[in-house]
């Protein structure tokens, strides 16, 4: 070890990973439905894509990516729910890893709900 920068590089690399073990109530919770229906329609790549991206970008102390069982809307799986303290829950449906990363970039980091992927948008399309 020759400098603090060298130490900080290792720290940065590891921080996101160890940060998965952090718990605090101000975290944004991102919940991926991982019941049989979710897994069958491709929830696992969505979950891993989100989890990896959050760790790589060192956001795991702010964003908690976790999984849950069947949410009850099997036809819309893979479903990703975003629960921010003090804000209404947003439900994204028919996710793919690419769409999920877009949600991460625009909503979780940028603060803007990606309306086109939400449950209400999907239901609106169907009634049209």
């Amino acid at each position: 070890m020759k400098s603090l920068e060298e130490l900080h590089a290792i720290r940065k690399k590891m921080q996101g990973r160890v940060g998965v073990r952090a718990e605090n109530e101000n975290q944004i919770r991102v919940v991926v439905g991982m019941a049989t229906c979710g897994i069958a329609s491709g929830a696992r790549p969505v979950l891993t894509a989100l989890s990896d991206a959050v760790q790589e970008q060192n956001l795991s102390d702010k964003i908690n990516v976790t999984q849950t069982g069947c949410i009850g809307l099997c036809q819309y799986e893979p479903i990703v729910e975003v629960i921010e303290p003090g804000r209404e829950k947003v439900t994204y449906v028919k996710m793919t890893p690419e769409k999920a990363l877009e949600v991460l970039r625009i909503h979780l980091i940028g603060g803007q709900v990606v309306a086109k992927y939400t449950l209400s948008a999907a239901q609106g399309n169907r009634t049209d």
Partner: protein, 595 residues
């Protein structure tokens, strides 16, 4: 990169209840379910709640599973790790109150705790230096070597108010300053990991859960006093701690955090392990250094103090494991942060090993000034089987007993001393109403008699004579004047013994005499043991009104001491009775009692 981390406790408590088998099975099941790329298994140090081991925490959910058995693993993997359905039957029941899963740090056991020395225990993999760096490790050493002078470091410690956690409570900064001021071609930094008090496992857990914190602090100490060599004196009876220290030292050398020219500052420092063979006296600083030198572990008179002439006659500082574990945090967060915790004269937190008659046996870290009541009743979950609290023993064989009347005293160095006990290294043994205080004093005296090194007469012979008097008392053969003799011996040992082992050996006797003198008198005058522990003063009897003559007691008595025919009142022959209590336990009519 893993989306989920399964932390399994690899501390001594959980290892002995089978956590390694759980880890092996977990890895197998995870692979069988195709999750090896997604779920990582991490063996950590102690979580603290040893009573509920083996313990497992699943992140990012923070799900706390307790008393996990190997057969539970397939369900955990298939349900929780694969499908996100928590296995509620294995949850720690404190986290499932009111039909809702509450976070671990809001449970009674954890909510009053404040983890500084234990901050990484149960969080990181102690065998991976990068995880330690990921939680801010080696930052303090880097900052110290690149931005601070040795005097700065000592001043930070003085400002923080940190006092030695090994028991005596000497200000750490002052100790370092004395060693720094003495010029010598070579100085040494030693770490005392010879934890020997019965019931104490704080240092062990820190070494097992976060060994790098100790290495980092020792390197900082080396820089502050001008030493290039450190020794950790650790008990050979702590195999997991020794193994993890060896791994940690190897990794630190590999990363250039030990060795030459650390952080390109020109500072060199290396650490070696020395294994102690388990003599209690080697926890005493001069005996410890004598043992490192390769000689028989015996103390020598002070002065000269180690800061002037210590290991190999060179200026040396010796600090306890827990003291070291606090230091990197103090450097990173500042002395004000540390000094904001605790009481006026005792800053920071203290780790206690909670044992004895208590529900949540385990490892706890609380701010100084927390009351004994909070530790016993809230964190410890009270006393099992609805029994009453009688006393808590702190400080091991050098400490004393704290009775119920002092439950609300804020715990710090000075308060404990004022009520006749001491902080000690942090063993805290809870005793309920079934404990005989004379018997407890005898237990600790037996320990000191065994462990006295024999070098000085007061300790070698004095402890033996004290034990003989205590034995007389518990056998009902003592007179009241024996109590005076006992107290006189106590005073001689305190003033004339060479080292702290002998000087403090009378403490268990003096403190029980102070608070439970009536029990001593009951043994001597009434020839009775009020708690019903001392066998020689105990008599089992059969109540003729209650006995139905079922013969059960006579059949199970191992000494054939019970006589009587079917449907006739039975009797116990006191000559033959070995006082095992088996008859009383088995009698269906409650006819047998002891007095």
């Amino acid at each position: 990169m893993y989306r989920s981390h399964v932390l399994v406790c690899g501390g001594t408590g959980c290892t002995s209840s089978g956590s390694q088998r759980i880890i092996d099975r977990l890895k197998k099941e995870i692979a069988a379910n195709g999750l090896s790329e997604e779920v990582g298994v991490v063996k950590t140090g102690c979580f603290g709640l040893c009573a509920l081991g083996p313990i497992m925490i699943v992140y990012p959910e923070g799900t706390f599973y307790s008393m996990v058995q190997e057969d539970d693993i397939p369900e955990i993997v298939a349900e929780h790790l694969l499908k996100g359905r928590i296995v509620t039957r294995l949850l720690y029941d404190e986290t499932t109150k009111a039909d809702k899963i509450i976070p671990l740090n809001e449970t009674n056991f954890y909510k009053k705790q404040h983890r500084v020395a234990l901050r990484n225990c149960g969080v990181i993999n102690p065998e991976n230096i990068e995880e330690y760096i990921g939680t801010g490790g080696y930052e303090a050493l880097g900052v110290v070597l690149t931005e601070k002078t040795p005097e700065d470091v000592i001043q930070i410690l003085l400002d923080s108010g940190l006092r030695g956690r090994g028991g005596a409570g000497f200000p750490t900064g002052l100790k370092w300053r004395f060693a720094a001021q003495n010029d010598a071609d070579q100085k040494y930094v030693c770490c005392n990991a010879d934890e020997g008090d019965p019931g104490a496992f704080m240092d062990r857990s820190i070494l097992e859960g976060d060994p790098h914190a100790v290495l980092e602090a020792m390197a900082i100490a080396g820089y502050a006093i001008g030493a290039s060599q450190g020794y950790i004196y650790v008990r050979a009876e702590y195999p997991i701690a020794v193994k993890r220290l060896e791994i940690a030292i190897g990794q630190a050398r590999e990363y250039g955090l030990l060795g030459e020219n650390i952080f390109d500052s020109g500072f060199n420092f290396d650490i070696e392990l020395r294994l102690g063979a388990g003599a209690f006296v080697c926890g005493e600083e001069t005996a410890l250094m004598t043992s490192i030198e390769g000689n028989r572990g015996e103390p020598r008179p002070r002065p000269p103090f180690p800061a002037l002439k210590g290991l190999f006659q060179k200026p040396t500082i010796l600090n306890n494991v827990e003291t070291f574990a606090n230091i990197p945090q103090i450097i990173v967060n500042g002395p004000e942060w540390f000094a904001s915790m605790g009481t006026e004269k005792s800053k920071g937190t203290k780790v206690f090993a909670l044992g004895g008659k208590i529900n949540n046996t385990g490892l706890v870290e609380v701010p100084m000034g927390t009351t004994l009541r909070e530790i016993v009743e809230e964190i410890g979950g009270g006393i099992p089987n609805g029994k009453k609290f009688k006393a808590a023993q702190t400080g091991g064989p050098s400490g004393g007993c704290i009775p119920a009347e002092h439950l609300d005293v804020p715990i710090d160095y000075d308060n404990l001393k004022a009520i006749g006990s001491m902080m000690g290294s942090g063993g805290l043994i809870v005793m309920d109403e079934d404990t005989c205080m004379v018997d407890i004093a005898k237990f600790f005296l037996e320990f000191t008699v065994d462990e006295s090194c024999g070098k000085c007469t007061p300790c070698r012979i004095g402890t033996r004579r004290m034990l003989e008097i205590l034995e007389k008392i518990t056998k009902g053969q003592a007179e009241m004047e024996d109590l005076d003799k006992l107290e006189e011996l106590c005073r001689h040992l305190q003033s004339a013994s060479l080292c702290a082992l002998g000087q403090t050996a009378p403490n268990p006797v003096l403190s029980t005499l102070r608070y439970f003198r009536d029990e001593y008198i009951a043994h001597i005058v009434d020839k009775k043991c009020p708690a019903g522990v001392c066998k020689d003063l105990l008599h089992y009897r059969i109540d003729p009104d209650k006995c139905r003559g079922c013969t059960l007691c006579a059949r199970i008595c191992p000494a054939d001491a019970i006589i009587g025919r079917v449907k006739e009142v039975h009797m116990i022959n006191p000559e033959k009775c070995v006082k095992c209590g088996a008859c009383m336990e088995k009698c269906r009519f409650g006819a047998i009692y002891k007095e």
